[in-house]
């Protein structure tokens, strides 16, 4: 059996080498919704134009859990796809297991170190070698607002946390739902991390969610963040538990709610409703986090391949992923910004431009750029899960902020 396989591989390798170095790349991803599917189709075309075969391996399911399960069984059986949509700390976990291929040659040839900010390349590297290629950068700490609703209620859009609660009180008095929220653990965590950033600042955020520093975790600042987070509950509607994020976005679109705290993937919903940024809807940094940027980077990690031709096709694809053409088309469709900072941004809208400005500024100064906890950028899925549990439990019960602080610190310790 084994022998037969080897023979076949040899024969296959032989014929391929004899004709041309055309390989096949199999890409596991869950970009299956309209705009996302269009985005990835661009890469497929580019790979095919380069003379290689593209084997699409899309596994539906927004959060990628299904795809992730398939990937693990493929990896265990020794037959991983060429590339898989893996992000954040998971890249390190796969790297530790020895599955990922080094992209150093491609990276050096194409100056990845120069075009990518260091925070991005750190996420893509395992033991100093590039093992994944970033496709985009999402900003998580956004506030999406409906200006008409604010105007009708005679309220200014908030820029600090105090202003936020003021505005929310007035909006509530005017009879609209101030905050559109979906009560799912990851959405609770998304709002919570923005509040931690607003209350404690970027350094505190990093202490808590990246380093899990015990002192920071048990500090009064943390308790204060929990207290502010609980206030959100006064300004959401009763239908919030279990609501999907895009349903919450549509509440803002229809003017039933004034604002939503969500990453920039929400922009796709506004675009689909034919709304123009700056006129029909406003994208503002989460109150109190101006000049700070919580990033969430999607990436394709490259798995070690068995045949030389497939490896070559894989390297070609890695190069294409970071090409300015792909980065532009993909991110125009997806609502995010390119991972390269040297690109012409003229095709992008005002929200993306604002996002890019803050991104460059924070990346250059090294201050205010933090990895998103809620989206798996700052810590392992284990610790992230423990944080989710505590945050959502706190938000949905009458637990005191002091207890929540203690429990969060304990849960993080236990999960490490």
């Amino acid at each position: 059996m084994m022998f037969k396989k080897t023979l076949m591989a040899m024969a296959l390798g032989g014929t391929v080498a004899a004709t041309a170095q055309a390989g096949e790349v199999e890409v596991l991803h869950w970009w299956t919704s309209g705009g996302e599917a269009r985005s990835i189709a661009v890469l497929k075309e580019m790979v095919q134009d380069a003379g290689h075969t593209w084997k699409d391996f899309a596994v539906a399911g927004g959060g990628g859990e299904n795809a992730y399960t398939v990937l693990r069984s493929r990896a265990v059986s020794g037959n991983p796809p060429a590339a898989a949509q893996i992000k954040g700390l998971e890249i390190q976990e796969w790297g530790d297991l020895g599955f990922l291929a080094s992209l150093e040659d491609v990276a050096n040839e194409n100056n990845w170190d120069q075009v990518l900010p260091e925070v991005v390349s750190d996420v893509m590297k395992h033991d100093g070698d590039y093992v994944a290629a970033p496709v985009n950068v999402h900003r998580v700490n956004w506030m999406w607002a409906n200006p008409d609703v604010f105007e009708n209620a005679g309220v200014e859009m908030p820029t600090t946390l105090d202003e936020l609660w003021d505005a929310a009180d007035q909006l509530k008095a005017a009879g609209v739902t101030p905050i559109a929220h979906g009560g799912q653990p990851w959405q609770d965590a998304t709002t919570f991390e923005s509040i931690v950033l607003a209350v404690g600042g970027a350094d505190f955020f990093a202490d808590v969610f990246v380093d899990h520093d015990a002192e920071a975790l048990e500090s009064d600042t943390m308790t204060q963040a929990f207290r502010e987070f609980k206030k959100v509950k006064d300004y959401i509607d009763r239908g919030a538990p279990g609501r999907d994020w895009n349903v919450a976005t549509s509440m803002v679109i229809r003017g039933e709610a004034a604002m939503q705290f969500m990453g920039d993937w929400a922009k796709g919903e506004f675009t689909a409703a034919n709304m123009t940024p700056g006129e029909d809807y406003a994208c503002l940094p989460f109150p109190g986090t101006q000049g700070e940027f919580t990033f969430n980077i999607d990436s394709l990690a490259m798995f070690k391949q068995r045949t030389a031709s497939n490896s070559e096709a894989q390297m070609k694809m890695a190069e294409l992923v970071l090409s300015p053409e792909f980065q532009e088309t993909f991110n125009l469709n997806k609502g995010s910004i390119p991972a390269r900072t040297d690109m012409d941004m003229s095709a992008f809208d005002s929200c993306a431009l604002a996002s890019m400005d803050t991104f460059k500024q924070t990346a250059n100064s090294g201050e205010g750029l933090v990895p998103s906890m809620a989206h798996g950028m700052s810590t392992t899925s284990t610790v992230q899960g423990a944080i989710y549990d505590t945050v959502t439990e706190f938000f949905n019960s009458d637990m005191s902020a002091e207890d929540a602080t203690t429990r969060l610190a304990r849960a993080i310790r236990a999960a490490q």
Partner: protein, 295 residues
């Protein structure tokens, strides 16, 4: 010669036909149960690995607040779900047993929910129970402005909405089991009792229901395993929320094994679930299956 050949075929054929099923069951059921048990003693994270750590994963499991919450929820849900299904199913079966008109049609109507998947049931009840679109809003629109029915968004009450949806789905099925049981009882006993002047009520409580012991047994087994492995209904209805208030062991197990890269702890929780099922079923099976032999 020919006789012995024929005997050989008779002897081997059934075994041959059954063997693939047996092999598949042994490998894919018992084999994987054993594998899960082995994994629960390792420090496996995102992939299986075989570095043994003893009972560490079990200790971590029982120190986890969420797991303890999930167990409590399972207890509340399981007891209520099984009890209410049995009571409602029995009452419906007895009422249908009164030689009523259109019994066939009614039976089908009651059985229909079972034909739906739990995902459908969960989604429909999610909408019905949602205070901003469902029952509460409907009653309020009829004029009862203060009517409130918001269990699904109340962390203390949400687990009961799972019971409601579960009972709606499964009680018709329990009714069918009971009805079959009722029909299986020898009518001459009932007639004899009636000749002795027993009322209809005492015929049911003294004769029919006690003689349906095996039927209760099978209904209980069916419902207990639906309760313990319940996953899809809760995912569709509340997603385990609000917060973690409707979390159950099956959801916990899935999330920890497949989403959070804690295969070892997930396996430990799966083994605890298996133990729970065995702890309920083994004594019951033992007492139920032993009595006919002695009696």
């Amino acid at each position: 010669m020919s006789v012995s050949n024929k005997k050989g075929l008779d002897y081997w054929l059934p075994k041959l036909v059954v063997s693939p099923t047996v092999a598949i069951t042994v490998i894919f059921f018992y084999g994987f149960v054993i594998w899960t048990a082995v994994l629960s003693f390792t420090k496996s994270r995102i992939l299986p690995q075989y570095e043994f750590v003893g009972f560490d994963q079990y200790v971590r499991l029982f120190l986890n607040d969420r797991w303890m919450g999930a167990l409590t929820n399972l207890l509340v849900f399981g007891v209520l779900f099984i009890a209410i299904c049995m009571i409602v199913g029995l009452i419906m079966a007895v009422l249908l047993d009164q030689n009523i008109r259109a019994e066939g049609a009614l039976r089908t109507i009651y059985l229909y929910p079972m034909a739906l998947s739990f995902i459908v049931t969960g989604t429909v009840w999610k909408w019905l129970l949602n205070p901003t679109v469902g029952i509460e809003r409907f009653i309020r629109s009829l004029g009862w402005d203060s009517f409130t029915f918001d269990w699904i968004i109340d962390p203390n009450m949400a687990i009961y909405t799972i019971v409601i949806a579960g009972v709606w789905q499964a009680s018709g099925f329990v009714m069918a089991i009971f009805l079959a049981g009722l029909r299986g009882i020898d009518t001459s006993i009932i007639k004899a009792a009636q000749l002795d002047g027993a009322s209809l009520f005492s015929v049911y409580t003294r004769i029919i229901i006690p003689s349906m012991r095996p039927v209760f047994f099978s209904a209980f087994i069916m419902l207990a395993h639906i309760a313990i492995k319940s996953f899809d209904l809760i995912i569709a209805l509340t997603g385990g929320g609000p917060g973690n208030s409707t979390d159950v062991p099956a959801i916990f197990m899935y999330q920890f094994s497949f989403q959070r890269g804690q295969l070892g702890m997930g396996a430990a929780s799966a083994i605890i679930m298996l133990m729970t099922v065995l702890a309920i079923l083994v004594p019951y099976l033992y007492s139920e299956l032993r009595t006919p032999k002695n009696g």
